[in-house]
């Protein structure tokens, strides 16, 4: 998915704490703004961001319209074993985007 940018280390020492940063292209339309015709533009936001490590959920964030457009999230994770970090964004109008990155733990 070209609309997602994920920054995570490719390798990590076992037990070390790594930072994972994720950015996704999305307008985060608040539902409070009038459009050019004077009517309120309907809300269209990402409501939830979740991260898994080898399928186990490690981080979850409920978003509101107060999250800036093109939501950026950074969080930390303990590099327990080699595997896949799965990131998932879901929101209004059936928005679902998933992205995966691999981290080799040695």
């Amino acid at each position: 998915m070209a609309n997602v940018l994920v920054n995570a280390p490719k390798t990590a020492k076992r037990g070390s704490i790594v930072e994972i940063k994720a950015l996704i292209l999305h307008p985060m339309e608040t539902g409070f703004r009038p459009g050019p015709n004077g009517r309120i533009i309907p809300r269209n936001i990402i409501e939830r961001f979740t991260a898994t490590w080898n399928g186990t959920e490690i981080f979850d964030m409920e978003m509101s319209p107060a999250i800036a457009a093109n939501p950026f999230v950074s969080f930390f994770a303990v590099a327990s074993e080699s595997g896949t970090v799965g990131l998932r964004w879901t929101g209004d109008e059936g928005f679902v985007v998933e992205e995966r990155v691999s981290i080799a733990v040695e």
């Binding site: 704490i17 490690i58 409920e62 999250i67 800036a68 950074s74 969080f75 930390f76 994770a77 303990v78």
Partner: protein
């Protein structure tokens, strides 16, 4: 009333029609109560980093870090962020656990006005810790019409 204050007042009146759903300090307090229930909220352990003066409220970097060993026995299970003057009092709720290693969450938020931001951390033992920060915004988010 000096000229600056008069202009600020006029601006407030102009934007009022769009502000009907605006959160207030009371709405923020109510939203916080909904999360913490009757538990006491103590100041400390939480640090809330965001710039004190923001030129553009549409994207404001924010980092919440909480002191915690993040072990199975003692970890931060949630971080909640609230504001008092955006249309809604809630900004985000992040759920964490011992697998995070560090109780730190960063994101970028929108601010519709100069206001106070409050971060509340919930420990695995059910305690609540908080920090707050005042931000001055020169150009607010949301008020401009979309193009």
């Amino acid at each position: 009333m000096d000229r600056r204050r008069f202009l600020a007042g006029t601006a407030a009146i102009v934007v009022l029609p769009f502000d009907s759903a605006q959160a207030t300090p009371e709405a923020m307090a109510a939203a916080i109560r909904k999360v913490v229930g009757s538990s006491p909220v103590r100041e400390g352990r939480v640090s809330l980093d965001l710039p004190p003066l923001v030129e553009n409220g549409s994207t404001v970097p924010l980092v919440v870090s909480v002191e915690s060993p993040m072990t199975e026995a003692d970890y931060i299970k949630a971080i909640h962020v609230f504001n008092e003057k955006n249309p809604q009092p809630g900004v985000f709720t992040a759920r964490l656990g011992p697998r995070n290693g560090r109780a730190v969450v960063g994101t970028r938020i929108k601010l519709g006005d100069s206001q106070k931001i409050v971060a509340i951390a919930e420990t695995s033992g059910g305690q609540f810790w908080s920090a707050s920060a005042d931000v001055i915004v020169t150009l607010a988010a949301c008020l401009e019409e979309s193009t």
